[in-house]
């Protein structure tokens, strides 16, 4: 589904990704772990097409298409979803107006008819409940004045409504208390299917107690230096990232 080959990317002239390779097949859950500054968030931004991130080398194929040739919105239309580490606040645009515009645009791109207002409202309310957000959040400005946990649950709600093929969760666990973490994890687990894949970007092993990955990768200095199954995460947790610096680099 996603095939990243020898990806190099820079921000403001500084190399962040330095030859990253990653293969995600349908239905798989991958976790990328790494210390601060290793390029974890950059990967999410690059895949979403954020301005200011320049690809200097390599390729990314998503569902048979050259992802890097697509505009940000087209990537969403193809089924790519990035749950942000720091979702932006948009005062004056209600969550409902935003969600409707988003779902309409994605459905239109896929040749599906738009939901009527009543049908859409019902779905939005269901997603709200599943994300353990009060219905009142639908009327509030997008992320406006939301707590850290509420913002993350709002991301989850969007993910449920858009039904993407590949969900990238960028440090979704940061700033979450254990209850909110469980809500997000059970939302993700409910969405797991044979045709949907996940890429969890995280600093801590904690999230992986709730969402069990098929593969764990360690990112350091812009490259994946080690891959394994979920036991790698536990090993990392026990030994710390410095364990990998001492000659263990693959």
């Amino acid at each position: 589904m996603l095939s990243i080959r020898d990806l190099h990317a820079e921000v403001e002239g500084k190399n962040i990704l330095k030859g990253l390779n990653l293969e995600i097949r349908e239905g798989e859950v991958h976790a990328i772990m790494g210390p601060n500054g290793s390029g974890k968030s950059t990967l999410g931004h690059v895949l979403s097409g954020r301005p200011g991130y320049e690809i200097t080398q390599g390729s990314v194929e998503f569902l048979g298409k050259d992802l890097l040739e697509l505009d940000t919105e087209e990537r969403a239309h193809e089924g790519l979803f990035l749950a942000f580490q720091y979702p932006v606040e948009i005062p004056g645009v209600s969550n409902m107006e935003f969600l409707k515009a988003s779902v309409d645009a994605v459905r239109e791109s896929q040749g599906a008819s738009a939901y009527d207002t009543v049908g859409f409202m019902r779905r939005a309310r269901e997603a709200c409940t599943a994300a353990d957000l009060d219905q009142a959040f639908l009327k509030r400005g997008v992320n406006e004045g939301f707590s850290g946990g509420e913002k993350k649950r709002n991301e989850l709600m969007q993910m449920m409504l858009l039904e993407p093929r590949l969900c990238i969760l960028d440090e979704t666990d940061s700033g979450l208390d254990i209850d909110a973490l469980q809500v997000v994890a059970s939302g993700v687990n409910a969405m797991r299917s044979e045709s949907r894949s996940f890429l969890l970007v995280t600093h801590y092993q904690r999230l992986l107690d709730y969402i069990e990955p098929d593969f764990v990768h360690v990112l350091a200095d812009g490259r994946i230096i080690r891959s394994g199954d979920k036991s790698l995460a536990l090993e990392l947790e026990a030994k710390g990232y410095s364990w990998l610096d001492d000659g263990e680099v693959a």
Partner: protein
């Protein structure tokens, strides 16, 4: 000045006798003044060239609301509707309310006339603004609203000034006087709308006695061809509160001068405004808050979106007199430019002569936030649609702040329509 507005002055409009002295004084002031030019600082960015054509007195119209294209906010309470400056009884509704007295100047009894005569013009510096003098000169009718001491009006009072399309360019004149007595409370909505090419001179005076609260809005939904030079003048006595909201949807030439006088300790004013301009429209808001006494507060926020070849002027003056210690005043004007040919001239002017005050001001002209735009695009919303959604949010954030629910509900679909149309125009451009 003997000029092209003279036919209006010479028209024989029936007016109450007790207004004659004011009319004559206004006429004398108008005739002895010069039309402001761009050499005058206050008119530097607004040309009155569009007024250099013959204007005829407006004519009475008997058209129905549908024929007039008149869409009104669905507010409960009294509604006075004027078309081309003439009162339209069959479009108006009067809801009896013991808390208020609502009367037209032409219908005022002796006591009411005396009250009007006493207060009319008391907060308007006629000699400083020729268009206020012009308003006086042609004064034939107007609206007087008095809110009784200690009373709260049950419903908003709505004043609608609508222009129908007329064969010649027509001049319309409106006048409103609100007298909010001690510890009274009311809501007033001024609504200017219409079609075609006309010149409107709308002048409003708000007098708030001690402890009075007045929620006021002045909505300009006139045509793209409309010319409007208007004024709002308010005086606030001790602990009075004025919440005043202004909206301008375009217009060929629109100039509104807003002057708020804090005259009593502890007075508070929240002044908000929005303008949305496209084509070759021009809007100019000049606001001036006079802090003459201590312990008064002002929160002022204006936001505008200017596209195509339109231009906006915002001049926000806050004048803190030497005695006005413990003043707190905040002024913000933010503008979005959506085309390279649009123009905004914004100028906050803080004049502070007291030393123990808290003041802040900011004026920006900017593009939309990149990170917001990216966020929307990651959710599949195409860039052009995302820009429109963000523009809408930029204005709607201010509308959402307004206390009057019916006002928010009235403006919301107008914003949606406005931005929906903008989207259609953009995609047409892209296609062509």
């Amino acid at each position: 000045m003997a000029n092209l507005l003279t036919p209006q002055l010479n028209a024989e409009t029936p007016a109450p006798d007790w207004l004659q002295a004011r009319r004559l004084a206004g006429r004398a002031a108008w005739e002895s003044s010069e039309l402001p030019t761009r050499k005058t600082e206050a008119w530097k960015y607004t040309s009155l060239f569009a007024l250099q054509q013959p204007f005829m007195p407006a004519r009475e119209s008997a058209e129905s609301a549908e024929e007039l294209g008149l869409e009104l906010p669905q507010l409960a309470g009294s509604r006075l509707v004027f078309v081309n400056g003439f009162w339209r009884e069959n479009l108006s509704e009067i809801e009896p309310d013991a808390a208020i007295e609502l009367v037209r100047f032409s219908e005022a009894d002796q006591t009411q006339a005396a009250l009007i005569a006493q207060h009319l013009g008391s907060v308007v510096p006629v000699n400083k603004h020729p268009f206020s003098a012009l308003n006086d000169a042609v004064l034939a009718d107007g609206v007087f609203l008095r809110i009784q001491k200690g009373s709260k009006a049950a419903c908003p009072v709505q004043l609608v000034w609508h222009n129908s399309p007329q064969v010649d360019a027509a001049i319309n004149s409106q006048r409103l006087l609100v007298l909010a007595e001690q510890h009274s409370e009311a809501t007033v909505v001024e609504h200017f709308s219409g079609q075609g090419h006309s010149f409107t001179n709308g002048l409003s005076e708000l007098i708030l006695a001690a402890g009075a609260t007045l929620n006021h809005s002045r909505l300009h939904l006139e045509s793209a061809e409309a010319l409007h030079i208007g004024g709002l003048h308010a005086a606030l006595e001790r602990d009075a509160t004025l919440n005043s909201f202004h909206a301008a949807f375009g217009g060929k030439l629109k100039r509104v001068d807003i002057v708020i006088n804090h005259q009593g300790h502890g007075a508070h004013c929240q002044l908000d405004g929005m303008y949305l301009l496209r084509g070759q429209e021009h809007v100019d808001y000049h606001t001036c808050i006079e802090h003459a006494v201590p312990h008064c507060t002002t929160d002022e926020t204006f936001r505008g979106i200017v596209g195509d070849k339109a231009s906006a002027v915002f001049n926000g003056r806050i004048h803190i007199h030497p005695d006005a210690q413990k003043t707190r005043a905040e002024l913000s004007n933010k503008n979005l430019l959506t085309s390279a040919t649009a123009e905004v001239n914004t100028k906050p002017e803080l004049e502070i002569y007291a030393d123990d005050v808290q003041c802040a001001h900011g004026a920006t002209v900017a593009q939309l936030d990149e990170s917001m735009l990216h966020y929307l695009r990651t959710r599949g919303i195409p860039a052009d649609e995302a820009l429109v959604l963000l523009s809408y949010g930029f204005i709607n954030a201010l509308v959402e702040k307004q206390r009057l629910e019916s006002l928010r509900e009235y403006l919301k679909p107008r914003l949606t329509d406005y931005f929906g149309a903008a989207l259609a125009v953009d995609s047409d451009d892209a296609g062509g």
